[in-house]
């Protein structure tokens, strides 16, 4: 529920300005108290390190060698929780441990988590990660620095980015800014804002100079919210229950009377 | 009456029933695939591809090369002076441009820019799409085409320039 004074926030990830310095990854780990990892360089796609998001890394810069013109070049992408307007993870959680807040972040309340990992299955962007090694495991994902946002600050990644590839502000302003950038520099950007209306809209808007599939983004997602798919079945649950109960009750009664009638005519079965 | 193993006759009937059902399933699958193909064929564009469409798949990119390398510093009109130059003159002009600070002309682009400027003289009569048809020809065919142009009045192409222009096309196609 958004009160007039609370406007939802959003973030622009402008991949044309990203230089792959990974300061955002470090700031994120620092703010979220994630431990340092022992990783293996060149374990995945070249300089990309670590290979994937995990319980200790809530955001990741993807290193992609794209051939534009005569020679290949780096084009960077970024993976993080998209903080969807209609989050599939929150709809799938049976204990409401994941909730969408008014300011925009989808926050995780670890005291409610039972570790069923339905959110991991549900997320179309494959974001939530689990620490299976832990004896008291929980879900790990970007928090949008919800605590910082509430205090009026910007998320950690947006604060440290040296090239202003990450912008942060009210969602309406960010959408307008993203559109403005594409309109004023059409040769630099492809005319697509990733996250604008994918799965019903998200709070993280990505801009790019090359098609998003080439940067490791998940594409081909519907423009409608994912929870709609289960909603259409789950909302008829009470009706279904009442209908079935009535039908079965009626059948039992009919069959009971029929067998009673045949019992009274002849020997018991 | 309980038998513990079905007899051979029923084994035959099991196989027969299976074959019939599998056939039925495959028939339905086949029908759906045929309908899908019909749908796809029906949605193909009614116009066949022309030679220009095919040629456009592998463009010469003359305009792009000149745009990227020359026009930033001086206008395209200045390039008009190259129409009367010989191949060697063009090359030395571009080499001179290389020495100018801020020109940023890489070595391997030198050949392509010279070739583009040589080919630009064909724009006297032809548009880009027509020129692009040269990519579909073989080398002897290209030379023959250029010779034909020499024979046309007002083309401005001399017989001794044929080889140089043909070589320019080769360089553009080799990129």
């Amino acid at each position: 529920m958004t009160t007039p004074s609370v406007k939802p926030k959003a973030m622009i990830q402008d991949n044309t300005r990203c230089i792959g310095c990974r300061a955002c990854m470090i700031a994120c780990k620092s703010w979220n108290n994630r431990p340092a990892d022992h990783t293996e360089f060149f374990a995945g796609a070249g300089y990309q390190n670590p290979v994937d998001l995990d319980a200790n890394n809530y955001t990741l810069i993807t290193f992609n060698e794209i051939v534009t013109g005569a020679q290949p070049d780096w084009v960077f992408g970024r993976q993080l929780c998209m903080h969807c307007e209609h989050p599939a993870c929150a709809s799938a959680c049976p204990t409401t441990a994941l909730t969408k807040t008014a300011l925009g972040p989808v926050v995780f309340n670890e005291s409610r988590c039972i570790g069923c990992r339905a959110c991991m299955q549900a997320c179309p962007f494959l974001i939530p990660k689990y620490d299976y090694e832990n004896l008291n495991p929980k879900i790990h994902k970007c928090t949008f620095c919800a605590d910082r946002i509430e205090a009026g600050l910007k998320p950690a990644c947006a604060t440290v980015c040296p090239t202003a590839a990450i912008s942060f502000g009210d969602r309406d302003d960010m959408v307008a800014e993203a559109k403005r950038r594409i309109a004023t520099a059409p040769g630099t950007y492809i005319p697509e804002i990733y996250g604008l209306d994918d799965v019903g809209g998200t709070s993280v808007l990505h801009l790019s100079s090359v098609p998003f599939e080439q940067l490791g983004y998940i594409t081909g997602l519907p423009k409608t919210p994912m929870p709609d798919l289960t909603h259409r079945w789950l909302r008829v649950t009470p009706h279904f229950f009442a209908l079935l109960y009535a039908v079965f009750g009626a059948l039992t009664w009919i069959m009971h009377r029929r067998s009673n009638r045949s019992d009274s005519k002849g020997p018991t079965a | 009456m309980t038998t513990d193993r079905p007899s051979r006759a029923s084994g035959f009937r099991i196989v027969l029933a299976l074959v019939v059902l599998v056939n039925l399933i495959l028939t339905v699958a086949l029908i759906t695939q045929v309908r899908e193909i019909q749908r796809r064929v029906a949605s193909l564009p009614t116009d066949l591809a022309t030679r220009r469409d095919v040629a456009a798949l592998r463009p010469l990119q003359v305009r792009q090369i000149i745009q990227k390398n020359c026009v930033e510093c001086h206008s395209a009109r200045r390039l008009g002076v190259t129409v009367s130059m010989e191949a060697t003159e063009i090359r030395s002009t571009v080499e001179r441009m290389q020495t100018h600070p801020g020109a940023n002309i890489p070595e391997r682009e030198l050949e392509r820019i010279s070739a583009s400027l040589q080919v630009v003289r064909c724009a006297r009569c032809h548009n880009e799409a027509t020129l692009n048809l040269m990519v579909l020809k073989t080398e002897p065919e290209r030379i023959a085409t250029i010779r034909r142009m020499v024979a046309l009045p007002g083309s401005g192409v001399r017989p001794d320039q044929v080889t140089a222009i043909a070589q320019a096309f080769e360089k553009l196609l080799a990129q």
Partner: protein, 393 residues
């Protein structure tokens, strides 16, 4: 109640498997999930969910299917199958809950589901319905030992509420069996096109209904062999004919759904997914359908065992295909169940079979058994005791 049971060598084998399961479970609790399981971030649900929870709950459908057949549709010809079916369902659901205690990251918090309000989550509905249904099953089954113990007053109460709670149980089963399918409709981009469908809830429900009679037949024949009574093959033949209809309808539904969704091309391509799909359809639906339609198979023990085992295996393969194998992941991500995972699920399954075997010898679960095996004075009331209001008349 027959307290003097002799444990056979088969019981010993089951106890050994259970012990292995317990040891592995201790390792899981002491060392975390990673110490026994291969599930990872790409495959958050693996063998434990695919087999230990989804298949167990599907097989637990034997309870509501036979109850529907005998009590609601009034086909009392099959009433001999009712008690074993309810006990099997009770043990299947109990097994699924035990599996959940191992599979969840934080099983000590599972009660959170009961104090939350999350109607948009399919798992929420599954959790609540399964919890309620387990209680229904307990209330239904507890009549048997209470009879033996002679707790007449409690029994009277139970018999009065029997019809309403029996109806509740059957209705709840329809809901949560289909909700397991609803859960997976949320991820069309992650489940292979061969298995994802908007009709997944119905597919899950119908396959659970199909698994019911198959499991009932298998149990009946196994009990006839192990407890030593002649099986009523005519009754089984009748049930086999009903089962043939259920298999046939599911086959048509699955293939029709495939055609309507336009996924036939994927089914006709040379991929492992297509192979698994056709194995599931061919051995799990097509072959049993043909077998169950033949009178010779309907009258033959071996034929029925073969056909029904194929049906049950088909349901297992379907659950695994939808929830695990058919998951689309990035090319470097992989999952193979570890020995730890398989060991724990086998331990739980062995536990269920063991408890069933013990209770079948202690209590009058099977009507065909001679009265000396069951306790004497209740023999006459036994047949009537299950049928709630009917016994009162």
């Amino acid at each position: 109640m027959n307290w003097r049971i002799r444990l056979t060598w088969w019981d010993m084998v089951l106890l050994a498997i259970m012990a292995l399961g317990v040891v592995l479970a201790v390792v899981r609790y002491a060392g975390g999930i990673r110490s026994v399981a291969n599930i990872n971030n790409a495959y958050p649900w693996g063998w434990w969910v695919g087999f230990g929870i989804m298949t167990m709950i599907a097989l637990g459908g034997v309870g509501f299917t036979i109850t529907l057949l005998v009590e609601i549709l009034g086909r009392h010809r099959y009433h001999a199958l009712l008690r074993p079916a309810v006990l099997m369902a009770l043990l299947c659901y109990a097994s699924a809950i035990v599996m959940l205690m191992v599979e969840l990251g934080r099983p000590w918090k599972v009660w959170m589901i009961l104090v939350s309000w999350a109607p948009s989550a399919a798992l929420y509905e599954v959790g609540w319905c399964a919890f309620l249904y387990l209680n229904v099953l307990v209330l239904e089954f507890v009549q048997v030992p209470l009879e033996e113990l002679g707790w007449g007053r409690v029994l009277k109460v139970l018999r009065v509420i029997y019809i309403p709670i029996m109806l509740l149980g059957v209705t709840l089963s329809h809901l949560h069996q289909s909700s397991l399918g609803t859960l997976l409709t949320l991820i069309p981009h992650k489940i292979n096109v061969l298995w994802w469908s908007e009709q997944l809830p119905l597919i899950f429900l119908f396959s659970a209904m199909m698994a019911g009679p198959a499991l009932a037949i298998l149990e009946y024949l196994a009990a006839a062999r192990w407890l030593g009574f002649p099986p009523n093959i005519d009754m089984l033949g009748g049930l086999a004919r009903i089962e043939a209809w259920l298999v046939g309808l599911l086959l048509v539904f699955r293939l029709g759904d495939l055609v309507i969704r336009g996924a036939v091309e994927a089914a006709l391509s040379w991929t492992w997914f297509a192979v698994s799909f056709w194995v599931e359809i061919g051995f799990g639906l097509l072959l049993p359908l043909v077998l169950l339609m033949m009178p010779e198979v309907q009258a033959s023990r071996g034929g029925l065992v073969t056909a029904c085992s194929l049906v049950v295996a088909g349901v297992l393969l379907h659950r695994l295909n939808v929830a695990v194998f058919g998951l689309r992941v990035r090319h470097w991500e992989t999952y193979v169940p570890s020995f730890g995972e398989i060991g724990i699920t086998l331990g739980i399954a062995a536990g269920a079979v063991f408890v069933f075997g013990v209770l079948a010898r202690m209590l009058p679960i099977h009507e065909e058994l001679p009265p000396t095996v069951a306790s004497q004075p209740r023999a006459t009331a036994r047949a009537a005791a299950w049928h709630g209001a009917r016994s009162v008349s």
